[in-house]
Symmetry: C2
């Protein structure tokens, strides 16, 4: 455990100067303050919580998908605050945009400088510059849908994707579907890798064909719709599982353009149960993640890490929400993407 | 949500009688009480918690491996009680022995009859008659090292086995081992299946040979020692990962009998960090699970389920504890199980 004393000795300054710098006092020069912060981070210093001092937490988001009630992150932040604020904690929300990143290259440095006891990350992708730092950071951090192995200061929180895919495939199989395709966002996101593998495990558990050719993945909606979708239709796929609701919704609109009827010609299942799902045409069958409970559980995980309880993974049970985008497969499947005759 | 009213209507008795039967009042006949309990269980009735009423929880154990401080279950129960009792909860401990099972065929019935709000199971195996019931039970239940898919009333708690195996294999690889074998208890236990798969994933991640022939599994220590161990030695294995400390310790004693030196001739790694590991000869390198924190987390999971927060999985970070049973592989590996010349 690195102490203020250790930092003072290394920098050959007084303990008082280090303490002032770490606590943002005004009578330490900006250069000295930065230099002390950098040394503290290098040495792996983390600020001990004072007894009875309620911690300050920061929620980080790369995209803005939390500002409106219908955004994915909104209920998660609400759930987190519902637990944190009654416990006396302060919760800040910080967007990881370009300007912020330029000003703050170091995660630990930022956390120490702003006196945050822990962080919740909503949407880091695998290339994120801070994700690499999270492998060695000593600052408690909870990652939604991201897993960092071998760091007892980080925890992964999310949905039980194996169960989710099992439920979706079970539903489609019961309706009579035998060949089920998968469309996914880029496998550069950890969550997409997990869902991709979970999809194939579910096919296998239900005894359905699970050739990897049954999946298409892309960062671009258009590639999924114009390349993978017709390829899968030609393979005789009658139902499509999608890695996210927005992709499912895009597919639904594309089918309307092509006069492919949902669910008469193909069935579509989404993932997340965003508020939009109840209002698409037809309303979307999807997997519900209870985002408020997810936020509450994220608070539990983060406050546990801050108390040295080494949570690694915390998953919630998903629910299958059956609406009207799924039905029995067409009686004669002719393996083509031709429009419905009118 | 099934109510007392529903049960009364179905049984054509008064609500008062149902209420008395469910609360164990003395002025309801034993036959009537049993009959009402059975109907309540069949209908999926669960007793609602009264506001501010602290719940009663029951910890179930099949074996007695919790009575002494050095037993695996002891610290888990202590951790659970450390959280539960200050919160006003009552915690009972019940051994699932033959007499108990005969008297109590139904899990839900037992829980309802004894007014328990939830259960923690320490050591169910996959053939356990109650495990099947847990797939459809409405009673909150947390299972240590057991996963029940598709029941939002149950949660799996345990160690991050992927991380554990990754750490162990990384350690052995750094020491110079290239061919690592695995000895495991029966794959009839969920936890053994998970560790088995995690072992091979870890080999793969570290770029080591991961032929399934490198593993031996058995319910019987002797089969592991007399059949699998020599078979693996003949394959040129220089380090053995074991699914449990007791198996590792058994292997160590067997090696002493055969004058095979640990770690000079072979390295051995255990799993669990039972108190005995520090006192074996040589002391055992192993994976530590923080059992007290596991118990505390089990309480969190169970109280969450009781409040309808659908926890599915809660895993803790393991730690690699390096002692003296691991070292560099012998310079000349001659692929045989011959004793050390003396």
């Amino acid at each position: 455990m690195v102490t203020i004393d250790d930092i003072a000795k290394k920098m050959k300054v007084s303990k008082g100067t280090v303490s002032k710098a770490l606590n943002g006092a005004f009578d330490v020069s900006e250069t000295m303050r930065k230099s002390i912060l950098e040394t503290a981070v290098e040495m792996g210093y983390t600020k001990p919580l004072r007894k009875k001092e309620a911690p300050r937490f920061c929620v980080f988001a790369v995209t803005m998908a939390y500002r409106n009630p219908e955004d994915f992150g909104s209920d998660i932040i609400t759930g987190f605050r519902k637990m944190a604020e009654p416990a006396g904690c302060t919760v800040a929300i910080q967007q990881l945009d370009a300007a912020f990143r330029e000003a703050n290259p170091s995660f630990d440095g930022y956390m120490l400088e702003h006196n945050y006891a822990g962080a919740l990350f909503l949407d880091l992708d695998l290339q994120d510059p801070w994700l690499k730092q999270l492998h060695t950071s000593r600052t408690p951090a909870v990652l939604l849908d991201n897993y960092v192995m071998q760091n007892a200061a980080t925890a992964y929180i999310g949905t039980d994707n194996d169960e989710a895919m099992y439920l979706a495939i079970q539903h489609l199989k019961k309706l009579g579907h035998q060949k089920i395709g998968y469309l996914s966002g880029t496998l550069n996101a950890y969550i997409n890798q997990v869902r991709y593998e979970a999809f194939f495990r579910a096919l296998q558990l239900h005894g359905l064909p699970c050739d990897r050719e049954l999946a298409g993945t892309s960062n671009h909606l258009l590639e999924n719709l114009q390349v993978h979708f017709p390829r899968l239709m030609q393979q005789g796929v009658t139902a499509f599982m999608c890695s996210h609701d927005l992709l499912a919704h895009g597919l639904m609109l594309h089918c309307q353009d092509l006069h492919i009827r949902v669910p008469e010609d193909i069935s579509i299942v989404g993932f997340d149960d965003l508020p939009i799902c109840a209002y698409t045409n037809p309303p979307l069958t999807t997997i519900r993640q209870d985002r408020t409970q997810m936020g509450k559980s994220a608070y539990y995980a983060l406050s546990s890490l801050a108390e040295n309880i080494p949570i690694s993974t915390l998953l919630l049970h998903p629910q299958l929400v059956v609406r009207n985008s799924t039905g029995a497969p067409p009686v004669h499947t002719d393996n083509s993407c031709t429009p419905d005759p009118q």
